[in-house]
Amino acid sequence: MGVEPEEWRAPARQLLTLRRLEIATPALVIVVVLGIAGALSGSAGAWAAAGAVVVIAALSWRFVERRYGSWGYAERGDDLLVRRGVMFARLSVVPYGRMQFIDVTAGPLERAFGLATVRLHTAAAATDARIPGLQREEAARLRDRLAELGEAQAAGL
């Protein structure tokens, strides 16, 4: 017996693209700069550093994929489940009746990809239920649905 639902919903694929881009762009810039420096000075150090950056970027790339895969959420009858984390695997159960308010935020990069982050707050500070990388329509739908369910099941402190 567990809380595992039949189906986890995942954030949009664009989130993975965004995260990959966040790694690839700086890595590419650094490698190009180091490459130019290496070509001009002919020192092996610059080439070695460029190689190291490539290796680190490749590892991060892999990690980001795994982390993307770990995100999931599921709406059940009375509560919302959110799971995340590769190193520290977390699974949160937040009853709708306990939600105090819901945030929807979108940073500039997220906006460029049409994404938003939904965050749930309860009266406990330790609650960390956050779902990043939702399509904007999905984020709005989730927000409205959670607000509605929260109101229907609200329980006092």
Binding site: V3, A89, R90, Q100, A123, A124, A125, A126, D128, L157
Partner: protein
């Protein structure tokens, strides 16, 4: 009732600025002494007189612009001369009401009323100061309004007879153990005093040098901390009444607090390592409130109320039984392999549950036992770190709206944790549906 006509705004007690000034008032008193008795002429004392006049005027203005009233179900306070503030405190969200009387306030026969509010942004409503004879009726009226009574209903009648402060005293802390426990818990104090004594024997000159310098100031601040604790917890009495849990105590500064029924978020029993040979422990309650911010000290946190500053374990457990009627009796230990992850904590870990409560224990040196009503659980979390994954373990957290106490089922078998998470979710849902009393 003392609160006057329903539509009327009220002022605070006229002596409020004097009492609120606290130490400043005493300092002013000292400033006045040489003027009154010394050979100083008034022309010499002009700067002092100017300062005193400005302070007195400021205090008077702040008193003049502050007013409060009780609306149907909230308390409103308006204050500020230039930046006018209108504060509204919904009484339904009151978690507890304190009556605080510092030494100076007792001299002037006034008292401060503090309403502790719930919610992430809710602070504390303060009425400082109200005349001493008005404060208790006012508190009872606020409590009655918070319970949902209508204003004006509170004429003595059947209902009042039911609520009448028929209090039953549960525990009173003894003074001797309180002093001993404060000293014992501050292990550093023993270390420093021991160090000083040894130092004094070895080389008296050095020690008096240290004491004469900054060391003295430091000792004084330490003494203040210890004194504050003693002052707060002196003869702390816990009583149970129909309108909630009553705590009162204090030596110079008196505090009386009423925690509304069903507002207890968690109970915690702490056994510091140096107390354990004596079989002593401390019992604290947690109520909902603003969460601790970074940089906030113990003093501002203040939400964790001590029910029993020190007492025999049996006494504390009796109190727990009273407050947690459905207490989990048996706690199950974690699997043996936890010894690889938490070799020190291993023996102290455990958890148990009934239909309405979760109990957890932790801590090798400072043993802590928590009881959390499932009705108060805000969310549940299952966390598995890298080491735990290797050992097939996981932890389950029960988050509450309290400030300091969170029950954690630490290092359980992964399957057991998943099962506990599901079971506790179901139980918490059921408990929310039919609220039990704390």
């Amino acid at each position: 009732m003392s609160a006057g006509p329903p539509e009327g705004w009220q002022r605070l007690h006229p002596l409020s600025p004097v009492v609120r000034g606290g130490r400043a008032t005493i300092a002013i008193g000292f400033l006045l002494v040489p003027i009154a008795f010394g050979g100083d002429t008034f022309s010499n004392a002009t700067p002092q007189l100017v300062i005193i006049t400005v302070l007195a005027l400021g205090g008077f203005v702040s008193w003049l612009v502050t007013r409060w009233r009780i609306d149907d179900d909230d308390l409103r306070i308006e204050t500020g001369l230039l930046r006018r503030q209108s504060l509204r405190y919904p009484l339904a969200q009151v978690q507890a009401i304190d009556v605080v009387r510092p030494g100076l306030a007792r001299m002037f026969r006034v008292a401060e009323l503090r309403l502790r509010m719930a919610g992430a942004t809710g602070g504390t409503a303060r009425l400082a100061y109200v005349a001493e004879h008005e404060v208790e009726p006012l508190r009872d009226e606020l409590l009655a309004l918070a319970r949902g009574a209508r204003r004006g209903d509170s004429v003595p009648g059947e209902e009042d007879a039911a609520i009448a402060p028929e209090k039953e005293i549960l525990t009173v802390v003894a003074t001797g153990p309180l002093v001993a426990s404060i000293i014992l818990e501050s292990g550093w104090l023993i270390a420093i005093l021991g160090g000083l004594i040894v130092g004094f024997v070895v080389s008296p000159g050095t020690v008096s040098g240290v004491l004469g310098g900054s060391g003295f100031v430091w000792l004084l601040s330490m003494a203040t901390v210890l004194w504050r604790r003693f002052n707060q917890q002196y003869r702390l009495t816990v009583a149970e009444g129909a309108d909630g849990l009553h705590l009162r105590g204090g030596l110079v500064a008196l505090t009386a607090e009423v925690i509304r029924p069903g507002r207890v978020q968690a109970l915690r029993l702490v056994e510091p390592v140096l107390w354990r040979p004596l079989g002593w422990c401390r019992l604290e309650v947690d109520i909902a409130g603003r969460q601790k911010k970074k940089g906030e000290g113990e003093a501002q946190r203040g939400r964790l109320r001590t029910l029993l500053p020190v007492g025999k374990r049996a006494v504390a457990i009796a109190l727990v039984d009273r407050l947690v009627p459905d207490r989990p009796r048996e706690l199950s230990p974690p699997p043996r392999r936890v010894i690889w992850k938490s070799p020190l904590r291993y023996r102290a870990l455990g958890w148990g549950r009934t239909e309405t409560y979760v109990a957890t224990t932790s801590g090798r040196l400072r043993r802590v036992t928590c009881w959390v009503p499932l009705e108060k659980a805000q969310s549940l979390r299952q966390v598995q770190g890298p080491v735990q994954r290797r050992l097939q373990l996981a932890s389950v957290h029960v988050d509450t709206a309290g400030r300091a106490v969170h029950a954690t089922l630490r290092d359980r078998d992964a399957a057991e944790a998943a099962e506990a998470l599901a079971k506790l979710t179901d139980l918490a849902r059921a408990a929310r549906r039919k609220p039990a009393l704390s």
